[in-house]
């Protein structure tokens, strides 16, 4: 009997206390969420990037951003260094871009790397009736060049180095065989720029 009386007393006391604080507990959840929200730290730059790269959120966008940024950095570094690495003088200043005149005629550059002890290099083709036009190598570096004005069209040619024919120009648009030997072909004009 004593125990039952004690239990009842405890129950009544708890009910009375809960009823007294019910008003305070009613918006407890809302207040906890608000307080946690205020305590949550703001994302800084690298944290934002990390979140962007997170596999669960914005993965593709993140990859695109990283690839783009890397490309931009390489481009910037490349452009900056190119001015410093490439010599401004001393290197052969052979312009490979054809100079066009009003009638379409272009100054076409023919280049042939010959052995350093080569005495003569000439280019023959259907633009000079297969009679040689001499190439020159003023600085003696073995790169022989000449420039010939050519109107738009298709031209077959070969080089003659110290009397030996060299028909396989790596700069040609195509290579054909003629009388059992190679001849190079260059197209001048819209189809091929002869460069």
């Amino acid at each position: 009997m004593k125990t039952d009386g004690l239990d009842k007393l405890l129950q009544d006391t708890l009910k009375a206390e809960v009823a007294a604080s019910a008003e305070r507990l009613s918006d407890m959840e809302k207040r906890v969420v608000m307080e946690l929200g205020e305590r949550c730290p703001r994302l800084r730059g690298f944290q934002w990037l990390g979140q962007l790269l997170a596999p669960t959120r914005g993965t593709r966008l993140g990859q695109i951003v990283v690839v783009g940024a890397t490309a931009a950095i390489f481009l910037f570094v490349g452009l900056t260094l190119s001015d410093r690495v490439l010599p401004e003088g001393g290197a052969p200043q052979v312009s490979l871009q054809p100079l066009r005149s009003a009638d379409g005629t272009q100054e076409v550059v023919f280049v042939w790397p010959a052995p350093l002890d080569a005495k003569t290099v000439a280019v023959v083709g259907n633009f000079n009736a297969w009679e040689g036009t001499d190439l020159s190598d003023p600085d003696g570096d073995g790169i022989w060049t000449t420039s010939i004005p050519l109107s738009p069209g298709r031209y077959e040619y070969a080089f003659i180095v110290d009397g030996r024919w060299q028909g396989h120009d790596p700069r040609a648009d195509e290579v054909i065989q003629s009388f059992g030997e190679y001849s190079s072909v260059r197209y001048i004009g819209r189809g091929g720029d002869g460069v």
Binding site: V124, R154, S178, G191
Partner: protein
């Protein structure tokens, strides 16, 4: 009114002067005669008459031909071998074919020191390719050369100079292909070669509509037929 009369006057003057300039720019026949005399050839009349005929064509390669005759004259080979080359050119010219490519081949052969008989054989193949290609274009494809100066009334009647350019490039591509060891039976490869060359020259020395016409009508089997006939 006065300005219109003046304009007409100057146009007439221009029309009269231009042909005269063209005639003056042409190498006179006597120069070819002298060059042939220095070889000497046994039958100069035939060669000279075809040269005279060729002079009337708009794309007659006057300077390269004279230069070739001069080079042949200084060549140490017997004169009948030199004349044989000129006879091939004369026949092609007499049949109305463009001989620009043949002269180029002969000049290249001389520069490479190729024996004249071998050059002649090469020219005969190239000439036959010109003949066969023209026949293929005309009889199988209905593409033919229209007289120069007349307006083009149908798309397949191509003015002579334009037609000759097509003829040169198609036949030469087949010739280069065969000379490079290609088989006539590889029609598709041959077609690709023709396609590439014509496309590269489209808008350069060939009109796009002419290239389109030929590439639309010609097929690999046509080229195989021409190549086979040339080598057989």
């Amino acid at each position: 009114m006065i300005s219109r009369i003046a304009f007409r006057f100057w146009m007439i003057v221009l029309l009269l002067v231009l042909p005269a300039v063209g005639v003056i720019a042409q190498i006179p026949l006597v120069e070819y005669e002298q060059a042939l005399y220095s070889i000497p050839v046994f039958n100069p009349d035939f060669i000279l008459s075809t040269i005279e005929l060729g002079m009337t064509q708009g794309d007659f390669p006057a300077e390269p031909l004279l230069r070739l005759i001069d080079r042949l004259a200084s060549h140490p080979a017997p004169s009948f071998e030199k004349e044989a080359i000129l006879i091939v050119l004369a026949h092609a010219l007499g049949d109305g074919f463009p001989i620009e490519g043949l002269i180029n081949k002969a000049s290249e052969g001389l520069a490479r020191g190729v024996p004249l008989q071998q050059i002649e054989q090469g020219l005969l193949v190239r000439w036959s390719l010109l003949v066969l290609t023209r026949e293929e274009l005309l009889w199988s494809k209905g593409i033919f050369s229209a007289p120069a100066g007349l307006p083009q009334k149908m798309p397949t009647a191509i003015p002579m100079l334009r037609f000759n350019q097509l003829l040169i490039h198609i036949s030469e591509t087949i010739g280069d292909f065969l000379e490079g060891g290609g088989s006539p039976f590889e029609g598709h490869v041959l077609y690709q070669e023709v396609h590439k060359r014509l496309t590269m020259l489209q808008g350069v020395t060939l009109l796009p509509e002419d290239v389109e016409l030929v590439l639309n009508r010609i097929e690999p089997s046509d080229l195989t037929q021409v190549a086979l006939a040339a080598v057989s």
